[in-house]
C-alpha cells in the first residue's frame, strides 16, 4: 500500500514538540527547566491527552457560558415559537409517558382538524430531554423539565465541539481538531440556533450530524463492520432528531459515488457503505414520522442507487479475477451500462406509477430557486428561507469564512478517501447555505473543521522551534526518533523523498528567523482574538433575545421590559373558558397553546395550507364576510399583534400581505393582493389606502379605538409610531366583535366574537314590553342609603357643582 498521506505521518511529531514546549513553559515557567521535564517527553501521550482534555473542557465551558446571555438578562425561559411546541410536547411526554406521547392526538391544535402529534414530530429532542429528566430524578435531583429544556442546547454545544474534534482528528491531526473544537464552541453561526432557551431540533441535531460524520469517516478508514454499524446508530439518532438527516443520506452516497469515479474503490468502502446503508435504512424507518419515506421518496433514491452501483462494481471486481482482460472489458462496459439503465428506468417508472413520491416542494426549492416564490407562498413567507448575502456569511463566521478555503486547498492537495468527504461536504454546504439562510447551520461545522486545518497548518509551520531543534540534535534526537516510530507504524513505509527532505530541513529549521515567525504568530493571534470578540458581540446583540420578552433602553441607559405577550397569554389562560378557540395568524399558534393553554386554529406546523388560507381570508376580508367564516370555524376569540402604539416592527400589519397572498392562492377571485395597495402600488395605512384595506378585519382589529389613545406627547391624533403616518380610518365601530383585552403597550389585542344569538334580539319599544320597567326607587323613606346633608349641593364626579343663580 502506498502511503497516501505523507503529511499526516509527519504532523503529529511536529505537534508533539509544539505542545511539549507549550506545556513546559506553562508548567515550569521557563526554558531553563526545559531539560528537567525531558523524562516527560519520553511519554508525550500523557501530555497530549492532558492538553487535549483541557482544551476541550475549556471549549465546552466557553461555549456553554456564552450561550447564557438571555438567561442572565431576562430569566430562564423558552424562546420564540417552535420551542414552545417542543416544550409542550416534552412536558406531555414526561407527564403521560412515552407510549402515550407516540399516540397523542392533540385536539388543542388545528381546530377542528386536530393533529396527530406522535406521528408528525421528530421525537429525538423530547426523548433526549425526557431521558435526562428521568435520570436526574432517579438520582433524586428534583429539577423541573423546563430547566432541562432551556439548558439542553448549550450542553449539547459542548458535545458538538467534541464530535467536531474527533472528526477533524480523523481527517487531519490532533491540533487541527482542537482548533476546530474551539471554533465551533463559540461561532455565531451555530450559537444562533443553540442559545439557552432555544429548545429546538437543531440544537441536538448538529451534534448528531457531526458525530455521524465522524463515525462514517472512521468506518471508511478502518473498513470494519463495527464502526459502520456505529455510524448507522448515530444516523438513527439524527433521523429521530431533525429533518436535515436527508443531508446525510445524500452526502454519504455522494462520497461513495465520487470515490468510485476516482477509482478508489476498496473493500473498506464496500463494507462501510453496505453496512451503513442497510442498517441505517432499517433503523431510520423505525421513527414513526419517517416511516416508509426512505424507500418511497425521491430524496432517498440516490442512496439506494449508489448501493446498487457499489454492488455491481464489487461484483465486477470479483469476476475480474476469473476472466481474460478483453472479456472483462466487454462485461464491464455492458454490465455497468445495463445496471445504470435499469436503476434509472426503475426509479422513473416507479415515480410515475406513484410508488415513489416525487420531490417535496421544500426540497425542490433548493434546486430551482425561483420555485418557492412562484408556487408555495407559505415557504417563501418565512424569512429563514431567503437567500444569503455575503454580509450574513461574514456576520455568522467572521474570519473562518475567509480562511476555510485554505483548508479545502490542502485537503485536495493531500487527498485521501476521507478528505474527499470533507471537500464534498464543504462544496454542497456552501451551495445550500447560499440558497437558504437557514442552512448556514449545516455549513458552520465544516467551516470550523476546515479553518481548523488551515490554522493548525499555519501555526505548525510558524511555531516550530528552531532553537529547540538545534538543541535537540543531541538531546531531542532520541525522542524524535521514538515519536517517528510510533506514528509511522514502525517503519513499515519507506520514507518518501518529500519527507526525507523535510527531515533534513528540520535540522536547519524553516530558515525564516525568529522575528518574522513571532510577528506572524502575533498577527494571527490578534485576528483570532478579533474573532473571539466578534463572536461574543454577535451572540450578545443578535442572538440572545427570547423574542417574547423585549427589552428597550432609554437614552440614560435604564432598561424597560416589555412583557405584553405573556401578559396576554396569561389573561387568556385565566379569563377565558377552557375550551375556547383562539384565532390568530399561524406564527402565534404554538405560543397560545404553550402559554395560554387554549385551542388554536392554525400554528407554526404549517401542514395544511388551506386551513391557513382560510384564516388569512378571514383576516383580509371585511367583518360581514369574515363573520360566517369565523362561525364555521367556531372561533371564540381573535388575537392580533399590533406594534403601532410603541413601534414594535414584527406585527401583523407588516405580515398582513402574506396573509393576503396565501389566501389569494386558494381564492384568487375573492382576495386580490392588488386591492390592498394604494393607487401607486404602495402598501400604506394612511388615507391613501384602499377602502378594502381600511375596512378589513385586520385593519379594524389593530386600529380599533386607536385614535383615542395618545401614543406620545405632541403626536397627531391616530399617529402610528411604527409606520410614522396618521392612519386612514379612525372612527369606526365593530359589529361582530367586541374588544376583550388589550395589553399594556397595545402589542397584543384580543377580541371576542359575538355569538349569533346576540343579533336575533329585536328592539321592542318600551310601550310594548310585557315586563314594564318598574320604578325600584321608592320615594320617601330611605333604608340604608347614603346620607345626605341638607342644603348641601351633591357633587357628581366630572361635573361642576351648580352654583345658585343670582
Amino acid at each position: 500500500m502506498r502511503n497516501k498521506n505523507p503529511r499526516k505521518a509527519l504532523n503529529p511529531r511536529v505537534k508533539v514538540v509544539v505542545y511539549a514546549k507549550m506545556a513546559s513553559s506553562t508548567v515550569s515557567g521557563g526554558p531553563g527547566s526545559y531539560l528537567n521535564i525531558k523524562s516527560v517527553l519520553f511519554n508525550p501521550t500523557g501530555w497530549r491527552s492532558l492538553i487535549t482534555f483541557t482544551v476541550l473542557a475549556l471549549a465546552w465551558l466557553a461555549g456553554f457560558s456564552s450561550r447564557l446571555f438571555s438567561v442572565i438578562r431576562f430569566e430562564s425561559i423558552i424562546h420564540e415559537f417552535d420551542p414552545w411546541f417542543n416544550y409542550r410536547s416534552t412536558a406531555y411526554m414526561v407527564k403521560h409517558g412515552f407510549y402515550n406521547f407516540l399516540n397523542w392526538f392533540d385536539d388543542r391544535a388545528w381546530y377542528p382538524l386536530g393533529r396527530i402529534v406522535g406521528g408528525t414530530v421528530y421525537p429525538g429532542l423530547m426523548i433526549t430531554s425526557g431521558a435526562i429528566h428521568h435520570i436526574l430524578h432517579l438520582l433524586n435531583i428534583p429539577i423541573h423539565i423546563q430547566e432541562i429544556c432551556v439548558f439542553l442546547a448549550p450542553i449539547f454545544s459542548g458535545m458538538t465541539a467534541i464530535a467536531t474534534y474527533l472528526l477533524t482528528k480523523e481527517l487531519w491531526s490532533n491540533g487541527a481538531g482542537l482548533f476546530a473544537a474551539s471554533f465551533i464552541a463559540i461561532v455565531p453561526g451555530y450559537i444562533s440556533r443553540s442559545v439557552a432557551g432555544s429548545y429546538d431540533n437543531e440544537g441536538i441535531a448538529i451534534f448528531a450530524l457531526m458525530f455521524t460524520y465522524y463515525l462514517w469517516v472512521k468506518s471508511v478508514k478502518t473498513g470494519t463492520t463495527f464502526w459502520a454499524a456505529m455510524a448507522a446508530f448515530s444516523y438513527m439518532y439524527m433521523v429521530s432528531a431533525w429533518g436535515g438527516y436527508v443531508f446525510i443520506i445524500n452526502l454519504v452516497p455522494l462520497h461513495v459515488f465520487v470515490l468510485l469515479l476516482m477509482g478508489r474503490f476498496s473493500l473498506r468502502i464496500y463494507t462501510a457503505y453496505t453496512v451503513f446503508y442497510i442498517v441505517g435504512l432499517i433503523m431510520s424507518m423505525q421513527i414513526p414520522f419517517v416511516g416508509f419515506q426512505p424507500v418511497r421518496t425521491s430524496e432517498h433514491m440516490a442512496a439506494a442507487g449508489v448501493f446498487v452501483l457499489l454492488n455491481v462494481v464489487g461484483g465486477l471486481r470479483y469476476i475480474q479475477g476469473f476472466m481474460s482482460k478483453a472479456e472483462f472489458r466487454y462485461l464491464a462496459v455492458f454490465g455497468s451500462a445495463i445496471a445504470a439503465g435499469v436503476v434509472f428506468l426503475g426509479v422513473v417508472v416507479l415515480t410515475y406509477a406513484g410508488f415513489i413520491a416525487p420531490w417535496s416542494g421544500r426540497f425542490y426549492s433548493l434546486w430551482d430557486t425561483g420555485y418557492a416564490k412562484l408556487h408555495i407562498p407559505i415557504i417563501a413567507s418565512v424569512s429563514e428561507h431567503q437567500p444569503t448575502t455575503w454580509f450574513a456569511f461574514f456576520f455568522d463566521l467572521h474570519i473562518l469564512i475567509a480562511v476555510f478555503p485554505v483548508g479545502v486547498w490542502y485537503c485536495i492537495r493531500y487527498i485521501t478517501d476521507e478528505r474527499v468527504f470533507i471537500v464534498l461536504y464543504a462544496l454542497t454546504a456552501t451551495y445550500f447555505a447560499g440558497v437558504m439562510v437557514r442552512l448556514m447551520l449545516t455549513l458552520t461545522p465544516v467551516v470550523c473543521v476546515l479553518s481548523g486545518i488551515a490554522f493548525s497548518e499555519l501555526f505548525s509551520v510558524y511555531m516550530k522551534d528552531e532553537d529547540g531543534k538545534k538543541h535537540g540534535d543531541e538531546s531531542n534526537g532520541d525522542a524524535a526518533d521514538r515519536n517517528n516510530k510510533m506514528y509511522d507504524k514502525a517503519g513499515k513505509v519507506p520514507k518518501m523523498k518529500h519527507e526525507v527532505a523535510k527531515e533534513d530541513a528540520g535540522t536547519a529549521g524553516t530558515g525564516l528567523g525568529m522575528n518574522l515567525r513571532s510577528i506572524v504568530v502575533v498577527a494571527m493571534l490578534m485576528m483570532l482574538l478579533l474573532f473571539a470578540v466578534h463572536c461574543t458581540w454577535v451572540t450578545s446583540h443578535a442572538y440572545s433575545s427570547p423574542s417574547i420578552i423585549i427589552a428597550t433602553y432609554s437614552h440614560d441607559g435604564t432598561r424597560h421590559i416589555i412583557d405584553d405577550f405573556r401578559e396576554a397569554y396569561y389573561w387568556l389562560w385565566q379569563n377565558t373558558p377552557e375550551d375556547s378557540r383562539i384565532m390568530s395568524w399561524w406564527d402565534y399558534g404554538y405560543q397560545i397553546a404553550g402559554m395560554g393553554n387554549r385551542t388554536t386554529l392554525v400554528d407554526n406546523n404549517t401542514w395544511n395550507n388551506t386551513h391557513i388560507a382560510l384564516v388569512g381570508k378571514a383576516m383580509a376580508s371585511n367583518e360581514s364576510t369574515a363573520y360566517p367564516i369565523m362561525l364555521s370555524l367556531g372561533v371564540d376569540y381573535v388575537l392580533v399583534i399590533f406594534g403601532g402604539a410603541i413601534g414594535y416592527s414584527g406585527d401583523d400589519i407588516n405580515k398582513f400581505l402574506w396573509m393576503v397572498r396565501i389566501a389569494e392562492g386558494e381564492w384568487p377571485t375573492e382576495v386580490r393582493e392588488k386591492d390592498y395597495f394604494t393607487e401607486r402600488g404602495e402598501y400604506k395605512v394612511n388615507n391613501e389606502a384602499t377602502d378594502i384595506f381600511l375596512n378589513c378585519m385586520m385593519y379594524k382589529m389593530c386600529y380599533y379605538k386607536f385614535a383615542d389613545h395618545a401614543v406620545s406627547f405632541g403626536a397627531p391624533r391616530g399617529y402610528d409610531r411604527l409606520r410614522s403616518t396618521v392612519i386612514g380610518n379612525m372612527d369606526f365601530d365593530l359589529k361582530y366583535l367586541e374588544e376583550a383585552y388589550t395589553t399594556e403597550n397595545w402589542i397584543v389585542r384580543i377580541y371576542k366574537v359575538k355569538k349569533p344569538e346576540s343579533f336575533i334580539r329585536h328592539r321592542i319599544p318600551a310601550t310594548k314590553r310585557v315586563v314594564k320597567p318598574r320604578n325600584f326607587l321608592k320615594k320617601g323613606k330611605k333604608v340604608g342609603g347614603k346620607g345626605v346633608i341638607k342644603n348641601r349641593p351633591s357633587i357628581t364626579k366630572g361635573k361642576r357643582p351648580q352654583k345658585p343663580m343670582r
Binding site: 430557486t369 412562484l374 437567500p387 444569503t388 448575502t389 455575503w390 454580509f391 450574513a392 456569511f393 461574514f394 456576520f395 474570519i399 469564512i401 475567509a402 480562511v403 478555503p405 485554505v406 479545502v408 486547498w409 490542502y410 485536495i412 492537495r413 487527498i415 464543504a426 462544496l427 456552501t430 451551495y431 447555505a433 447560499g434 488551515a454 497548518e457 499555519l458 509551520v461 510558524y462 516550530k464 527532505a501 523535510k502 533534513d504 530541513a505 528540520g506 536547519a508 524553516t510 530558515g511 525564516l512 528567523g513 518574522l516 510577528i519 506572524v520 498577527a523 490578534m526 485576528m527 478579533l530 470578540v533 466578534h534 458581540w537 384568487p668 377571485t669 386580490r672 392588488k674 402600488g681
Partner: protein
C-alpha cells in the same frame, strides 16, 4: 356589418388555426369596436418588425403567445375570450385611432360596457411574464388560464452538449488522462465555486440587484449601505478580497513548509508578502463589513 354570431364564428375559426389573430384597421373595428359583443378581446399593441429595434416587444410577445396558447389548448377554451395583435407596421392607423403611442401594450375590450381604467395592463405593476398576463386577464374577465410553458429545452440541450463535449474530449485524450488527476486544477475549481457561493452570487441570481449604485450627484457607490442588500460589483470585490486572503495564507504556509534548500531571503519575502496580503485584506473586509452594519465596534488596522 356582420352579425354577432358570424363574428364569433369567424374569431373561433381563427383561434382554432392560430391562437392570436393579427388585425388590421378593418378587422380591429369589426371585432373590437362593433357592438354588441358577448366575448372579451385581449389585444396586444406592439412593433415586432426588426427595423423598430424593440427588444422588449419581442419578449412581451413571446409571453403573450404563451398565454394565448395555454388558453387555446386548455380545457377551459371557449368563445368568451379571444386574443388579438396589432402591429404598428401593419396598422399604424389603429394606433392613432386608439391614441396608443407606446408599444408594447395590452388592452382588454370587455364583452359588456365600455373600457375602464384598468383595461390597459400596467406592466410596471404586474410585470411582463405570462403568469402576470394570465393574472391580469383573470381579474378583468374572470377566466382562469393556467399558464403552461412549453418546456425550455435550451438548458437541457446546453448541458447535453457540454456533456458530449467533455465525453468527447476524454475519449480523444483517453491515452493520457493524467490531467484529470491534476490537483491544482480541481483545487482551483472548488475554490472558485466556494467563493461564488460565499460572496452571495446566489442572492444576486435570485434578487437581481443593480450592478452599481449611482446617487443624485452622479457619484458611484460600490457598496450597498445596509446589511439587507448588496450590489453585484460589491460581491465581486468581496470575491477578490477572499481570494487575496486565501492566497496570502497559502503563501505563508508554503514559505514555511517549503523545505527545499532555496535561499532564505526568498522564503522570508514570501512569508512577508503572505502576511501583508492577509492582514491588509482582512482588515479591508472588516472595514467594509463595519460600514454596512452600523454600530459594529471592532476594526483591525483600517478604520
Amino acid at each position: 356589418m356582420k352579425s354577432l354570431g358570424e363574428r364569433v364564428q369567424q374569431l373561433t375559426e381563427n383561434a382554432m388555426k392560430k391562437s392570436i389573430t393579427r388585425m388590421n384597421k378593418e378587422k380591429f373595428m369589426l371585432y373590437a369596436k362593433s357592438v354588441p359583443r358577448n366575448y372579451s378581446l385581449v389585444v396586444m399593441f406592439t412593433a415586432l418588425s426588426s427595423k423598430r429595434q424593440c427588444a422588449i416587444c419581442r419578449q412581451a410577445f413571446d409571453e403573450f403567445q404563451i398565454v394565448a396558447n395555454s388558453f387555446r389548448y386548455s380545457q377551459s377554451f371557449s368563445n368568451k375570450l379571444f386574443f388579438g395583435l396589432v402591429d404598428f407596421d401593419e396598422a399604424s392607423d389603429v394606433f392613432q385611432y386608439m391614441k396608443v403611442n407606446a408599444a408594447p401594450q395590452i388592452m382588454h375590450f370587455p364583452g359588456k360596457g365600455k373600457q375602464k381604467k384598468g383595461d390597459v395592463m400596467d406592466f410596471g405593476m404586474y410585470g411582463l411574464s405570462a403568469e402576470a398576463v394570465a393574472k391580469w386577464i383573470l381579474e378583468r374577465t374572470e377566466i382562469q388560464i393556467r399558464v403552461f410553458r412549453p418546456p425550455n429545452y435550451s438548458g437541457s440541450i446546453a448541458i447535453l452538449i457540454l456533456f458530449v463535449l467533455v465525453a468527447g474530449l476524454l475519449y480523444l485524450r483517453r491515452n493520457n488522462l493524467d490531467f484529470l488527476a491534476n490537483k491544482t486544477m480541481w483545487g482551483l475549481a472548488c475554490l472558485g465555486f466556494m467563493f461564488a457561493m460565499i460572496s452571495g452570487q446566489m442572492w444576486n441570481h435570485i434578487r437581481s440587484p443593480p450592478f452599481i449604485h449611482r446617487n443624485h450627484q452622479g457619484n458611484f457607490g460600490y457598496i450597498y449601505g445596509s446589511s439587507q442588500g448588496q450590489l453585484v460589483l460589491e460581491t465581486y470585490i468581496v470575491i477578490g478580497i477572499y481570494a487575496a486572503i486565501v492566497f496570502g495564507m497559502i503563501l505563508m504556509i508554503e514559505s514555511g513548509s517549503n523545505t527545499s534548500k532555496t535561499d532564505v531571503g526568498k522564503k522570508k519575502l514570501q512569508a512577508v508578502i503572505g502576511l501583508a496580503l492577509m492582514a491588509f485584506f482582512f482588515s479591508l473586509l472588516l472595514s467594509i463589513f463595519r460600514s454596512k452594519s452600523g454600530g459594529y465596534p471592532y476594526s483591525f488596522l483600517l478604520k
